[in-house]
């Protein structure tokens, strides 16, 4: 580094002040507001049945969407990086769509598709299948929004690793599954975990898309972010922040896990 000390201190200072103002102060405020009425009120707010239902729904949604996107992401990255086929670029573009589309639009797509007035709505209604304003809709919207995380993380990594090791395994007599589990998977392990952590954080924290398809039925179709909004709109600030603090905690845990995995990624490469 050749910059004078003054410049370095100034730049570092600006970055730190910015981080403090926009990240640390709000984070502290969440916990301060949450505990404003004491620990008793805090615990009551997060153990109240509707809050617990929201936590349960969030966990269920993540438990379904994260593994699905894990499988999809690995399959897509594997196909894109190890094989040549027609439509490869189209697939890469499709994977990126959820990143470039507003989450609200993502939710609306499902309402238009599965809603009562939508294309498949009448048929679903006839067979008594509920997707919109029910758990399946929330899961679908979450899957859509978290679609790119695993694949996007793996594609550059697998591209950099090339297909030499897979070819070596094939020549040595390994079949497709053996090649995948003994060669490919160990090589992408840390990148995969990293992608899953990001995917999980987004799955649990998603608001826009889920908000459109959820219907906000208390204790039924509210995830944690939606529950926070309802409490907040009811001027129940302490309870809103108490539940929000759960999400903040999730963010902190994600951050720590992410740092550990990033460190491992660096070590293993």
């Amino acid at each position: 580094m050749t910059e004078p000390a003054l410049v370095r201190w100034f730049l570092t200072g600006v970055a730190l002040i910015f981080l403090g103002l926009f990240l640390l102060v709000p984070l502290a405020a969440v916990f301060a507001q949450a505990l404003e009425k004491g620990a008793g009120a805090y615990i009551a707010a997060i153990t109240e049945p509707d809050a617990l239902a929201a936590v349960r729904l969030t966990l269920v949604t993540a438990a379904i969407s994260v593994p699905l996107n894990l499988v999809f992401g690995v399959a897509a990255a594997w196909a894109i990086t190890k094989f040549d086929f027609i439509g490869k670029n189209l697939l890469i573009t499709l994977i990126d769509i959820p990143f470039s589309v507003s989450p609200v639009i993502s939710g609306l797509i499902y309402v238009l598709l599965f809603g009562l007035q939508g294309w498949l709505g009448p048929w679903l209604d006839l067979h008594n299948i509920k997707i919109i304003f029910a758990v399946p809709g929330i899961v679908l919207a979450t899957i859509f929004v978290t679609f790119p995380f695993v694949a996007r993380e793996l594609i550059p990594l697998m591209q950099a690793q090339g297909k030499d090791e897979e070819e070596a395994a094939l020549v040595l007599g390994a079949n497709g599954l053996q090649t995948f589990f003994r060669v490919t998977l160990p090589n992408i392990k840390w990148g995969l975990i990293y992608g899953v952590i990001l995917c999980n954080a987004r799955a649990m924290g998603e608001f826009g898309a889920v908000s459109v398809v959820s219907g906000h039925i208390r204790g039924m179709t509210n995830t944690i972010p939606l529950h926070v909004e309802i409490l907040y709109n009811e001027y129940n600030y302490a309870a809103a922040f108490a539940v929000a603090s759960l999400l903040a905690l999730l963010a902190l845990v994600t951050l720590v896990a992410k740092s550990i995995v990033e460190w491992r990624l660096k070590v293993s490469s």
Binding site: E167, A168, V171, L172, N175, Q178, S268
Partner: protein, 356 residues
């Protein structure tokens, strides 16, 4: 096991990687595929291995059709240019991989695998490195592990893609001599790809010179070096001087020299090129015949086992490269800038239009 390649063609988009290539590798031979980059040598190797499909033609192992056989079932050992070792496995696990992935029925017992792997690790002289990971090894060590891993499955054919390409010069020479000795011990039919003529000439029983998707010449190292089939092989194997002239009625006139060429008796008169190796350039201080060309010495590199000279023809200003023994160089006492008389020996004449 012998390998037979029958008029194989392969296209990548608009690029003809291989055009009607036929070649037979007898059992137990060590063959080099030699050519510049883009000549199709690696593609041919990968087609033999089954890593690449072919558009036309057939591959036969021991006379049996193998074209449709999956890479898994071809029983070939393949050594990749950049080793392709499994980076998360130790040297031991890398070498054992091919045995460990066998179906239970044909898989040797744990003890057998251990003994065989240790035997191979001993063969590649890495006994103390069995627990190391590839990242902890030098390039030469990694390449030896890659070779041991390929040999562990007792392949019928060993295929090596630029096996020494990524190594520095000294390790390269050591390793290729080691490979030659190894081949003399185990006699597995081997094909290796290289763009380094020294490597091909030193290691191989037979050299296959390739260019632009075709085979230019097949022969022993002596044959391809001493009797190149065409100008490409001449140019590719070693330095060469070109002398332009004409061929007419079975006689070539190159500079002041005329050469009888009965094989061109029937050919139409036309331009021709004579190829002469630098050590076949004779230099004299005084004119002894009309067949000598006048030239000026531009540069002398006198250090080393031989002296290298760069000369400029006084008539055409073309450059001539010459090599002579130390003794001859001392005896003549040549100086830079001096005028001398040059006499090419052992000229090989090709008609100009033969040149692609």
């Amino acid at each position: 096991m012998s390998i037979e390649i029958r008029s194989v063609s392969k296209k990548f988009a608009d690029f003809n990687a291989l055009m009607d290539v036929s070649l037979t590798v007898p059992s137990g031979e060590l063959v080099a595929l030699l050519g510049p980059s883009g000549s199709g040598k690696t593609t041919l190797l990968r087609i033999i291995a089954g890593l690449e499909s072919l558009d036309q033609g057939a591959i036969l192992f021991n006379g049996e059709e193998a074209t449709s056989r999956h890479v898994r079932e071809r029983q070939v050992g393949f050594v990749f240019q950049h080793y392709a070792l499994f980076r998360h496995m130790t040297v031991f696990d890398n070498v054992a991989f091919g045995l460990n992935v066998r179906p239970r029925k044909t898989r040797p017992s744990k003890e057998e695998i251990r003994d065989r792997v240790h035997g191979l690790i001993k063969l590649i002289q890495l006994e103390n490195f069995a627990d190391r990971y590839p990242a902890q090894l030098s390039g030469g060590q990694r390449q030896r592990v890659a070779l041991a891993r390929a040999l562990a499955v007792e392949p019928q054919v060993l295929l090596l893609d630029e096996p020494f390409g990524a190594l520095d010069a000294k390790v390269r020479v050591e390793l290729r001599r080691w490979l030659r000795r190894l081949h003399d011990e185990i006699h597995v039919t081997s094909v290796f790809v290289t763009h380094d003529q020294d490597e091909a000439l030193e290691v191989a029983d037979r050299v296959v010179v390739m260019n632009e998707g075709r085979i230019e010449q097949v022969g022993t190292p002596e044959e391809v070096y001493d009797r190149p089939a065409n100008p490409f092989v001449y140019n590719f194997l070693g330095n060469v001087n070109l002398f332009h002239g004409r061929v007419d009625k079975g006689e070539a006139r190159i500079g002041g020299i005329s050469i009888d060429l009965p094989e061109f008796e029937e050919a139409a008169a036309g331009p021709a090129v004579a190829y002469v190796r630098p050590y076949d350039i004779e230099i004299n201080r005084s004119r002894s015949s009309q067949e000598e060309i006048e030239a000026r010495i531009r540069f002398i590199q006198g250090a080393g086992a031989v002296a290298r000279l760069e000369l400029e023809r006084l008539d055409t200003l073309e450059l001539i490269e010459a090599v002579m023994t130390r003794e001859r160089y001392r005896e003549l006492g040549l100086q830079e800038g001096e005028k001398v008389f040059v006499r090419p020996r052992n000229m090989r004449v090709f008609l100009e239009d033969y040149n692609i």
